[in-house]
């Protein structure tokens, strides 16, 4: 078991590209080695030691490595990008694209996450205890496939385009989702416990559960009557018919 604790030393104004903060990169490294890893702050090349106090306890492979970011890092992007194993705990907020492309392990964000949390993730688990903003579990700009596997849980609210272009995996939002969750979906399951607006726009296939209210419904969904799933009665819709979609949208009655 290896525990790496990163304590923020300052609050940068310009975002820091920190795709190297992963168990895969940190595994087996000393505090000095981790502190010397280069990162970009705007157009300036820095090291992690410029931003964090680094403390390492033990040494292990990626799966046995736990990274604790002991504070708020709302301007540190891409934490846990493409990680395959291990654990990251952030005791505060994170900037965009946390856990993008991750395939294994877990990330816990105790504060809020900015846009594209879990972008194109294929496995592993992300838990955001606060809110997330746009494109949670979404795709890369221009790609036709977003999240492909794994599980993304957001305990608070999210803004627009939750699970955009989703191709697999599972998303759970315990609060509300704003506009167009599951837009352009191919597959996967999205559950929204709160309210949302225009779910499933141009959904091809895949499943969306809305346990709160749908504030506005797309006209291009077909009403299929009621259905009970796990003891809850939903009104079932299929669509989006504008794209010959076969997605299923369950709305709590």
């Amino acid at each position: 078991m290896q525990t790496v604790t990163l304590t923020p030393k300052r609050s940068p104004v310009i975002s820091i590209e920190a795709e190297m903060i992963t168990p895969d990169v940190f595994a087996g490294k000393s505090d000095a080695e981790i502190g010397a890893i280069p990162a970009w702050e705007g157009n300036e090349e820095i090291t992690l030691a410029d931003v964090f106090d680094v403390a390492v306890d033990g040494s292990a492979d990626a799966a046995g490595t736990k990274i604790i970011i002991d504070g708020n890092v709302p301007r540190v992007k891409r934490i846990g990008e493409a990680m395959t194993a291990g654990e990251i705990v952030v005791k505060g907020d994170v900037d965009m694209r946390c856990g993008a492309l991750m395939s294994g392990g877990s990330i816990t964000v105790e504060g809020n996450a900015d846009s594209w949390v879990g972008r194109e993730m294929t496995g592993g688990e992300i838990l955001v205890k606060g809110n997330a903003t746009y494109y949670a579990g979404g795709g890369y700009r221009g790609e036709t496939c977003g999240m492909r596997g794994g599980k993304l849980t957001i305990e608070g609210d999210v803004l627009d385009y939750l699970g955009e272009h989703m191709c697999g995996g599972e998303i759970l939002v315990k609060g509300n989702a704003r506009l167009l969750p599951g837009v352009l979906n191919w597959s996967g399951t999205i559950t929204i416990e709160g309210d949302t607006t225009l779910p499933g726009g141009e959904m091809k296939s895949g499943t969306i559960f809305v346990k709160g209210k749908v504030l506005e419904m797309l006209p291009s969904y077909k009403d299929e009557g009621t259905e009970e799933v796990d003891g809850v009665t939903y009104r079932k819709y299929t669509g989006d018919l504008s794209r010959n979609g076969e997605g299923v949208l369950y709305v709590s009655v």
Binding site: Y140, R141, G142, E143, T144
Partner: protein, 574 residues
């Protein structure tokens, strides 16, 4: 400029009947010469392969590609071929690079040069789009460039053909080349681009074009005859009707037979057929679709009035961009892919759809095979140009892959081994064991494209040619390409030296200098059209611009300022 002599190279220069000989190549003032003085700089090729600089006679590198860039931000991160794709930071010499199918303009120049290519032809530009294309040309370094101008669905062209007014047609073609500072005549899905204005297409060369009393056959013959009457250096350059449609073989054969009656004005083809792979399908639907390459090759082997290029498919992500609007609509619907659509006023249509080809898909595997079959079944390499229809069949940085496939049966069999069973009875490639030699490869990638385009200074190493030379780290007398295809592929991707206009621009696969290339264009108007005909044309065009165009006639023509290093070709007037 200093003199240079390349020694100890194994030279392939098919136009001058040099087939792997240890000749010296002398360069002076950017040209190949017979001999140089004793003080000339000596470049030791160390027994390596020496060819003329590559000529890509059909690529999409400026114009529509800009829309493709906007549509595909994800392309910026693709890097399947390190050193020739993906993001690369700025260096002291080079601009930053991104992209794979749609690289930024500077990367296009760098990467073609690394492949040993020195001349490229943008294959489809409307006169309306030409000014922007020249601006893009200006920021593609190193390479010499030229553009083919779309005329196959142009209202003026169709009107003059309908009227039987061959003089006006000639005048307009010459004027359109002048207005776009273009080099040759491109015809894409003749008539279909015009019908696309109404959401329709044509299904063969004898369909009527909506609102004009002409057929695709009329357009092809009209433009071909006028092209020859103008004595243009390039023939018409044709993308047939029904691209990518199962059962399009008869349309392609009809088009080839149709042109038998046109007489070439000079020693070249009367028609170049482009990306033939997409036009060689038998069957009636995707279920029974199969390769028709044997019938196409049989026809071409027996006739000498045409040339073609392969349009070879490369597996992986591609970007289809064509003036064939209805085809792109079909692609977008078939693959549920995103789609950009053009309707360029009176001039043509167009569309862009990103796709990906995979060897596991029987149809893609079949298409991949057809491109290679065509090149291997046609006996005379002077009828075949190597292309991938960049980036429609695949990005140009895959040229070494495609070239090695033509040179190694072993490599082909390795790929075919992974194909689905559904492909195997649709293709003949497994039974073709021909392997091209270096001389044939030089023809298909340099000499033939230069001859086909009428570029006399390109594609060879005889005295008077531009000193565009590619030297690859391959020892032709020691390497067995059939077996060592991976090493050869790598060598072809990163030239040991690329020399452009007598200057070393690539050394050991790295760019060393950034000269600006020339732009070839054809002026058949000034001397080629008599004043009374010019007056008649301009009067008609002014009226048409008032009626139909969104642009002022006076703003239309590309000014000289957009072509700072022109090579103006004036065809001899008959």
């Amino acid at each position: 400029m200093a003199e240079m002599i390349i020694k100890n190279g194994v030279v392939y220069d098919p136009k001058n009947s040099v087939d792997g000989e240890k000749n010296e190549i002398c360069i002076k003032d950017g040209k190949i010469v017979d001999n140089v003085g004793a003080g000339a700089k000596v470049l030791d090729a160390e027994g390596c392969l020496v060819m003329p600089g590559g000529v890509d006679g059909h690529t999409h590198c400026a114009g529509k590609i800009n829309t493709a860039r906007i549509m595909s931000p994800h392309d910026m991160r693709y890097s399947p071929i390190p050193g020739l794709s993906g993001p690369e930071p700025r260096t002291k010499l080079l601009r930053p690079q991104v992209g794979y199918n749609t690289p930024n303009t500077h990367a296009i120049g760098y990467r073609y040069s690394k492949l040993g290519y020195t001349t490229i032809a943008e294959a489809a530009i409307t006169p309306m789009m030409a000014r922007h294309m020249h601006e893009e040309f200006e920021s593609i370094p190193i390479l010499d460039k030229l553009a083919l101008v779309l005329m196959g669905s142009n209202w003026q062209v169709m009107q003059y053909i309908q009227d039987g007014d061959s003089e006006m047609l000639k005048s307009y073609m010459a004027w359109a080349l002048l207005a776009s500072r273009g080099y040759g005549v491109k015809i894409v899905n003749p008539g279909g681009g015009s019908n696309w204005t109404w959401g329709k297409n044509v299904t063969g060369i004898d369909d009527k074009v909506i609102d004009f009393d002409v057929t695709p056959a009329d357009i092809l013959i009209g433009l071909a005859e006028a092209n020859e009457a103008l004595n243009l250096p390039h023939s018409i350059h044709v993308h047939c009707n029904n691209l990518g449609v199962p059962g399009n073989l008869p349309t392609t054969l009809d088009t080839m037979k149709l042109l038998e009656r046109v007489k070439a004005s000079q020693d070249r083809q009367v028609m170049h057929l482009t990306h033939m792979q997409f036009h060689s399908y038998t069957g009636t639907s995707w279920m029974d679709f199969a390769s028709g390459s044997d019938q196409i090759a049989d026809y071409i082997n027996k006739h000498d009035h045409l040339t073609f290029d392969m349009g070879q498919m490369i597996f992986g992500p591609a970007m289809t961009m064509t003036a064939d609007g209805p085809t792109e609509y079909r692609n977008a619907r078939m693959f549920d892919a995103k789609w950009s659509n053009y309707d360029q006023e009176l001039e043509d249509a167009g569309g862009i759809v990103p796709l990906a080809y995979t060897p596991q898909h029987f149809a893609h595997a079949t298409m991949w095979s057809i491109g290679l079959e065509l090149a291997l079944l046609v006996k005379d390499p002077w009828k075949v140009m190597f292309t991938t229809d960049n980036p429609n069949g695949g990005a140009f940085v895959n040229y070494p892959e495609g070239q090695v496939l033509l040179m190694s049966d072993k490599k082909r069999q390795e790929v075919i081994a992974g194909f689905p069973d559904m492909t195997m009875d649709r293709i003949s490639l497994p039974n073709i064991d021909r392997e091209l030699d270096w001389g044939e490869m030089t023809v298909m990638t340099r000499s033939m494209p230069a001859k086909m385009l009428g570029l006399e200074e390109k594609g060879h190493l005889g005295a008077g040619a531009d000193a565009d030379v590619a030297i690859y780290d391959v020892k032709p007398d020691k390497v067995d390409v059939s077996v060592e295809h991976e090493a050869v592929k790598k060598a072809l991707g990163f030239a040991k030296y690329t020399i452009k206009g007598g200057e070393i621009v690539v050394r050991d696969g790295d760019i060393t200098a950034l000269p600006k290339g020339k732009v070839y264009w054809v002026n058949a108007y000034e001397n080629g059209i008599v004043q009374t005909e010019k007056d008649r044309l301009i009067t008609d065009l002014e009226e048409r611009f008032k009626k139909y165009y969104s642009m002022q006639f006076s703003n239309y023509m590309v000014e000289d300022a957009y072509v700072p290093r022109p090579v103006e070709v004036r065809p001899e007037v008959a």
